[in-house]
């Protein structure tokens, strides 16, 4: 699901970089506010844990196995802001050190897995953990993975990566199987962790409003479905690929890209200033 560079066309990756950069700045600020000193190394070590836990195979049926992806698990254990920050750190390291996902596509990958994936992993848990805990954790894992995968697929389609109708359904079915597996693995992992020490899996903070969580989840699912529908509609693809692929328009694309980066830098700069001001205040 890590999109490498060269797949997304300029408008798509530039937009997602511009969206993700301030979002990550905001998430970092929230995580900093909610995190006590002794939890700072914990965030890093939990990132390393997710990396390592992905090496452990879960046998599912004869001859097949899956592994934990971890977005939902992090959201349940650390809370949404810290989890999104840890996922962003993991994705940045994967893009640079492990050649897993592109550097320009980092904004897209952070958006899919770090922001939307973690939100889709946290919201079901927030909504249903009081009454139906196991179902809530299962839904967290499954929705988290499904959201990331569908968003990535939609972005690839918008960028003009061709996918015939049958293939589209086949990959959606594959995502669904993976999502169910992630749900089951997340439930198993959370209950194993809880057996060792129940304090490691805190409930969501009671301060956050439940209605708001419901609305947020509905909005998120609408965005995911909307992205898929919009990207699968042929005229949308044609319009966008025409803007990206026409050889006469490359200067415009280049300028678009440069402006995108300039906007990212400006936003990072503003975000940094804001954080600095808050901290000194």
């Amino acid at each position: 699901m890590h999109i490498p560079d060269g797949f997304l066309n300029t408008p798509v990756w530039a937009t997602l970089d511009v969206v993700s950069a301030p979002a990550v700045a905001w998430v970092a600020r929230r995580a900093q506010r909610d995190t006590q000193d002794h939890r700072i190394p914990l965030l890093g070590v939990m990132g390393a844990f997710v990396f390592a836990a992905q090496m452990i195979n879960f046998p599912v049926g004869p001859g097949t196995s899956g592994h934990l992806v971890g977005g939902a698990l992090l959201a349940i254990v650390l809370g949404p802001a810290a989890a999104a920050l840890v996922m962003t750190a993991i994705l940045a390291l994967q893009a640079l050190i492990f050649q897993d996902g592109g550097v320009l596509a980092l904004g897209a990958n952070v958006f899919n897995m770090g922001l939307a994936g973690v939100a889709a992993g946290y919201l079901p848990y927030r909504l249903w953990h009081a009454e139906r805990r196991t179902v809530a954790i299962f839904a967290a894992g499954a929705l988290s993975l499904m959201t990331s995968a569908c968003l990535a697929l939609g972005q690839l389609l918008i960028s003009g990566v061709p996918m015939r109708g049958g293939l589209l359904w086949a990959s959606l079915a594959l995502f669904l199987v993976n999502a169910l597996m992630e749900g089951a693995i997340t439930v198993a992992a959370v209950s194993a962790i809880e057996r060792l020490n129940p304090e490691w899996v805190p409930g969501p903070r009671p301060a956050s409003s439940r209605t708001l969580a419901g609305v947020a989840l509905a909005a998120l699912l609408l965005v995911v479905i909307g992205t898929l529908v919009a990207s699968a509609a042929p005229d949308g693809i044609e319009r966008l690929t025409a803007a990206g692929v026409d050889s006469a328009t490359w200067p415009r694309s280049a300028i678009g890209g440069v402006m995108g980066i300039a906007m990212i830098l400006a936003l990072c700069f503003l975000g940094g200033k804001l954080i600095a001001r808050r901290r000194s205040a």
Binding site: P4, L43, G44, V45, G47, A89, L104, P162, A189
Partner: protein
């Protein structure tokens, strides 16, 4: 393990290693943007980008074969989509997908094999990336291999004891989680023992020299020339 290779490479002393991390990171972005906006039929341009990267690798005294092997990690994913694209009749685009993702991977690899982690995180920090994110990146990288090796040992031990099952794997994840949690506690206490007072000092960066500006300018000129001429 692989990580040792990049770590070892990144501590070289070539001119490219000594270049300012900010200049290298900016040059990487310039290169990636130029590459990303190059459109499929331009085979000459892709060859020119490859030559640019080869020159940089030579300048950094890095082993070309090792670099290419690591950059090829992107190929399985890319090849799947390239095959789909080729199958739907757009062979030029299929080829471009492979070229672009391979060259992008190679470029990012060149950055991290000439710049230690603290170098490029300091560059990001000087561009006002959130401090908290930088800290988490550094902590993840520092403990990644420790915990991955622990996971590997636990997996082997479990396999030795018998056939794996779903419950067993969940148990392994649970124990790995517990050990990571305890390790984080230990890390915090040793930070306290070394005088940590709840504040992190930003990593120092050497001043930006004229030669760094020259390097960035050369990269910019090279990429622009390729974009305009080819």
């Amino acid at each position: 393990m692989h990580h040792l290779v990049i770590d070892r490479w990144s501590r070289g002393t070539s001119p490219l290693h000594q270049c300012d991390p900010r200049a290298k990171l900016a040059a990487l972005l310039v290169f990636l943007i130029a590459l990303s906006t190059t459109l499929p039929p331009a085979q000459g341009a892709f060859a020119a980008y490859a030559i640019l990267l080869l020159l940089a690798a030579k300048l950094a005294h890095l082993p070309l074969r090792g670099l290419a092997r690591r950059a090829a990690l992107v190929l399985p994913f890319t090849a799947t989509f390239a095959l789909l694209t080729w199958w739907s009749g757009d062979s030029l685009r299929a080829l471009a997908l492979i070229e672009k993702s391979f060259l992008s991977g190679l470029a990012a690899l060149l950055l991290v094999s000439t710049t230690p982690l603290t170098g490029w995180t300091a560059a990001l920090e000087s561009w006002h990336a959130p401090r908290m994110l930088i800290l988490v990146i550094q902590f993840v990288y520092r403990y990644l291999f420790v915990i991955a090796e622990q996971a590997q040992r636990m997996r082997w031990a479990a396999l030795c004891r018998g056939r794996g099952s779903f419950r067993l794997a969940a148990g392994l994840v649970g124990v790995l989680f517990a050990r990571s949690w305890q390790r984080a506690d230990g890390v915090y206490h040793s930070m306290l023992a070394r005088g940590f007072r709840g504040r992190f000092v930003p990593s120092p960066l050497a001043p930006f020299h004229a030669i760094d500006a020259l390097f960035l300018f050369a990269c910019l000129a090279g990429c622009l020339a390729i974009r305009i001429l080819l």
